[in-house]
Symmetry: C2
Subunit: 417 residues, 2 copies
């Protein structure tokens, strides 16, 4: 493995980890923009724009873009989150330059009015589809409740109303200010020729203009509000709880990730043994959500309405015990094995490696080997986790619950008194 990096004069960063023993490669653009970089008026534009990049450029129609990727056999896609828009492809080494050129071309989309108007309907359908998925909807709403006005609470998809009023001109302005060379990283991993990548990108992107792309960065302690929303068609209760935690830049992020596994991994965690294994909840998980300058621990529980009181009592006991006694050595050991397995297995694939490389540079301007991360995970002590819990008590959360129209059973509201 050999790490390479180069910064062009317009601040476009190119990074690569060459692994000549790999049989494939992965390439992609990491654009540091997402829903938290949107104003209320244009909420949803980052995700909508991601779709629009596949609708063609001055040179290529959408059909030609499709056929050009298809020809290479590359496995390609894009994704938008609160903080990032990523365009990536896993492919055979012989197509690295061709697909890189294609991504470069797509980074200058035509953003035609007619395509914008057609795609608007696709976006609205996607919003409707996710609204119908309570496990997604509850998280989205709870994040908004938690961040309470802070842009980290913006929905990635945006609301139907906001997408309806969004104009192509607003999108073009957003595009110009955010898809700037100084706000993106091109990354590659696996088997590729670094020199060729650099000259390809330098030639095509060297003339791109820098922009003042900034982001509002401040830690947010969370509203700690509680809310229950009723929906007539729901069969069970969906409960999301969010507490503040360390950021993607904080060295304690490894401790936070381990804590989430100990409390809420899908099997073998405290939530699993106390709630799922006892058939009190169908699902009960916790994840760590590191972000730029802030972070969250969020949990999702699905249970029948009649079990809500009992479930929330148990959750409270779990959090009280954590605050009191921290985690056990045995729990920590098991969680480390899980985190290390997942980390190492994911990074065997150039595509998995690409994601870690790209985000490591985006958040830390740092190259981290897999070994760096393995060492950091192994170094976490039960004491580190207990200190983290004492500073960021997971029991002190914002909570949003989506459930059926009140059945007369004890509601979560009673529990929150």
């Amino acid at each position: 493995m050999e790490f390479k990096h180069k910064i062009l004069s317009n601040d476009l960063v190119i990074i690569g980890e060459v692994n000549k023993s790999a049989k494939s490669a992965a390439v992609g653009f990491f654009v540091k923009t997402g829903s938290r970089d949107e104003t209320e008026q244009i909420n949803g534009v980052s995700h909508f724009l991601e779709h629009m990049l596949f609708k063609g450029t001055e040179k290529l129609s959408a059909l030609e873009v499709n056929k050009a990727f298809d020809r290479t056999g590359a496995q390609f896609n894009a994704a938008t989150s609160e903080e990032n828009t990523v365009f990536y492809a896993a492919l055979l080494p012989e197509y690295v330059i061709e697909v890189t050129q294609l991504w470069i071309e797509l980074m200058k989309p035509a953003l035609r009015d007619e395509d914008f108007n057609i795609e608007k309907n696709v976006i609205k359908e996607e919003i409707a589809m996710y609204k119908d998925m309570p496990s997604f909807d509850v998280m989205d709403r709870c994040r908004t409740l938690h961040f309470d006005g802070h842009p980290c609470g913006n929905s990635v998809l945006g609301s139907e109303e906001c997408i309806e009023t969004l104009t192509a001109e607003q999108m073009r302005q957003y595009f110009t200010s955010r898809y700037a060379p100084n706000n993106m990283v091109f990354a590659c991993a696996g088997n590729f020729d670094w020199g060729q990548i650099c000259s390809t990108i330098e030639e095509a992107c060297g003339g791109w203009q820098k922009q003042a792309a900034t982001r509002i960065l401040e830690h947010h302690a969370g509203s700690k509000k509680k809310q229950r929303i009723e929906k007539a068609n729901l069969a069970c209760e969906h409960i999301c709880s969010i507490s503040p935690c360390v950021s993607a830049q904080d060295p304690r992020r490894f401790a936070a990730a381990l804590l989430a596994v100990i409390v809420g991994d899908s099997v073998g965690s405290r939530f699993f043994w106390e709630l799922v294994d006892k058939a009190l909840a169908e699902a009960a998980t916790m994840h760590f959500g590191p972000m730029d300058g802030t972070g969250t621990l969020y949990s999702y529980i699905r249970c029948s309405s009649k079990n809500v009181s009992k479930v929330l009592d148990i959750v409270r006991c779990i959090f009280e015990d954590l605050l009191q006694s921290g985690v056990t050595e045995d729990e920590l050991e098991k969680a480390k094995n899980k985190v290390l397995s997942a980390l190492v297995i994911k990074n065997e694939l150039p595509m998995g490696r690409l994601v870690d490389l790209g985000f490591s540079w985006t958040y830390l301007q740092q190259y981290r080997t897999i070994e760096d991360d393995v060492r950091a995970v192994k170094a976490v002590t039960a004491q580190d986790i207990h200190s983290l819990i004492k500073q960021f008590n997971p029991g002190d959360f914002t909570q949003l619950s989506l459930g059926p129209t009140d059945s007369g059973e004890a509601t979560p509201r009673k529990m929150w008194c």
Copy 2:
């Protein structure tokens, strides 16, 4: 990469491909048994038995099995098909022996009456869940229609009635005859110590008794029957078509896989451009299903009832054109890129490699490197594919359609006259 293999005196095969540059490993048992090895009376027993292996042994309770895996952080699972039951895990190198010992222990399940009776309900729920998924149900029913009495038409899950009457004693007999050392392969891939693996397995499994585990092997040309089943709650038409094709042992399997990609890959295929891109069908895909001594090409199309006639007309034209003119060089080139990308990317992971190694031995008693498969794909010519089409005409198929209660529109039945 170094291939190793050893056959114990009871014919248990151990194979491994050592890749010291990998950071993880994968291990698993490939048992050559599935629904095609069942009689009508015990249909579904292979899949049910796969579940029961996790319910404990004489030494370990189900809880202890769960905790033992959990400790290692391994990503483990099992799967049952018409022909195979596979137990696999991806893991860190330091847990290879521990997890191998765990799989060995699980291969001697207790099969207790009480666990059997409880798990029966889980299996019945799984059957009900899949029955509610028309895209799955239509394939399952169409395979049964196609194989028309041949055991390859047996459903993997079995019917609720059959599971209801199945006894624990029948399962124990099936287990003894099928989970025999001469009917299974232990495989490992990635970073592991071959000597340690061999001594672990030899010591624990060397005493297992051989059995007369056979399989009815004969090619089946398919019934070519047509059937439509109405379901009141369906919103659109689900159409499955199956035509006979070459087996998993046939050198022409690479040509057959490429043909399926050309006709029915989810993007860029003939089905895609003629049906999906034109918004006549929501989904239209084709896959090659190589089996032991036989094989199928199967396609799945989902469209609104009003488009059925048009869709089936287009499908007929596509197949007629293929029979007449074969495929183009350009189509073949694109399909090769897709197949090669998927093959190479999958095999970067020890887990992906394990699957190919295991099945290659199960079906061919052969070690094939990734390069062997890459060469075989590259060597296929448009002429090879045309010859295959002439011998196995994909337009001459069995077809089963699941759709809403007849709306008065032209039905598929009319098309089949």
